[in-house]
Symmetry: C2
Subunit: 363 residues, 2 copies
Amino acid sequence: MGRVFNFSAGPAVLPEPVLQKAADEMLDFRGNGMSVMEMSHRSKMYLAIFQEVEQKLRDLMAIPQNYKVLFLQGGATLQFAAVPMNLMSRTGSADYAVTGMFSKKAMQEAQKYGKVNIACDAKPYAAIPRQRDLTLSADAAYFHYCHNNTIYGTCWDYVPETGNVPVVCDMSSCILSTELDVSKYGVIYAGAQKNMGPSGLTVVIVRDDLLGTAADYTPTVMNYAGQAENDSMINTPATYGIYLLGLVLDWVRDLGGLSAMRLHNEKKADVLYRVIDANGFYKPVAEKASRSLMNITFRCPSEELDKQFVKEAAAAGLVNLAGHRAVGGIRASIYNAMPMAGVEALAQFMCAFAAQNGGVAHV
Amino acid sequence: MGRVFNFSAGPAVLPEPVLQKAADEMLDFRGNGMSVMEMSHRSKMYLAIFQEVEQKLRDLMAIPQNYKVLFLQGGATLQFAAVPMNLMSRTGSADYAVTGMFSKKAMQEAQKYGKVNIACDAKPYAAIPRQRDLTLSADAAYFHYCHNNTIYGTCWDYVPETGNVPVVCDMSSCILSTELDVSKYGVIYAGAQKNMGPSGLTVVIVRDDLLGTAADYTPTVMNYAGQAENDSMINTPATYGIYLLGLVLDWVRDLGGLSAMRLHNEKKADVLYRVIDANGFYKPVAEKASRSLMNITFRCPSEELDKQFVKEAAAAGLVNLAGHRAVGGIRASIYNAMPMAGVEALAQFMCAFAAQNGGVAHV
């Protein structure tokens, strides 16, 4: 069969030209006679790839010079521990905004390493709290939040103001999807498997002045300062994932960079939200002001119809639309690599499905 | 150019049929309409791959039922911390055999988490100590050693007897290269990037009775018991690396399994060691009784000749032959995927190079 439209929340759809290039270069990377996978991470040919990827990421995201870019492993979940291990000792406590399952997991992990203040707990996670609703501590080592909540389909529409307290952000499901003022953050981290590449690669962007405060029990490869000094090569990084990130970065750049990506993502999300808002058949999960551009969450009038929707959509080549088990309903993850054609096909399917099942949902 | 013979110590050469299959399946895995890289780790299609890979590894290595197989991230170096974090609390101290740079790093990392006894320090790491030379503690939580020392080209020719103390082994550079009695070990771990697949995947094989003793500060994804309960999916594993491991396991099985692999590796190593031993031009780094089948280390009569050797060999399509910076000289890593043709080409080059530079080295 041909390629399907894959609405998976992650690992997720990758740009077809990226996969094609990876396939073409699999046995022989640009005349070097070997796959990127087979290259020593310390070889000249691999280091050239590695340094190029870092520079491309810096250029695209406009990462200031006083930030280090680290290419690590273990996913965002290992960062849930790495962040407090590296930063908690600065004051002994940290503020956590809980706006979904992953930010809650991050908060719980941090409790192993210091005192945690809950800046907010936005149950049932359908909306992002406003600045005035955050309980912030002046002496927090950092403030942690998750910018886009994959499971609930919510997204912060602002960067919290925290005074002198560094902002640490899990951007796993929104990095590279829009422009970003990196200078507002102390640490940004993201698992690659949504907008950047395959799982197994984690990108950490950390401001220089936050290096060097890791607790004694921090594993060597989790120490930001150590990895910064060693260009992320204390041990072998996820070399192939980094190469694929480079191909994705080329693709984003060639499409016009992050502002173009934002427009593309806004247009795609708008198509689906318009169908959802058109009438009462589909019920949105997230409140309007907190809607994600990456994960569009909604429900059919019944759980039976949710299941039928997912099944019939899959038969039509629109796959992985079941909501997360914690929320149910439908979730359409439309990361950068989801083309407008996939979103339009889904919108048409939604309209037809609503009409066939007693509702009317027109674009 | 065509494919070179790549003697890299890791990431290292992969079987060409594995790379070809990965390339062929890159855009559409067996009619599923997507790349393995794009599959949700919790999707049925990916779980089928995942479970098959575990079963293949269990079959090939004859892993007993009372062992869990974990697919983790972070490389062996993260396991240097994970092992003591998970096991040290059993008695508070552990025995470490130091036979090279990586076992030394493992020992130093463990010192963060408890008392470490040096069972041996085999400086200058040209030989593996005998059983009688090991200073073992009856109350150690575990005994740790590295079976094959990639940098020095040495390999243990026996599994240390430690009574009731569980044996923990770093097998990064020898796993899948020969048969193994898993039941002699408490924990076996290995980074994938030498004999198993791409970097970014770490395999841990752990005996059931060693689960459940992790220290409180152990990051959730580093807790063996938690990962065992969650089938290595506390968070997204390195999905593509696991798939590639599956392709490598098929390749090993089709060639006759681990006993055939051992014969293949013995024959290859023999070709190179015979050239080294033939006369005085090349000087072996490792003592005869401790020689590795995976990493063949030797020197030319001078550092200048070492450099010339590496350069001329590369020009002849034999690449990545420089020894590790800690040892110098020449290192030919000939993991499973290095074909006999590559070894024979290297042997011929060695003979010719010796003859041209005043020595005589005949096979």
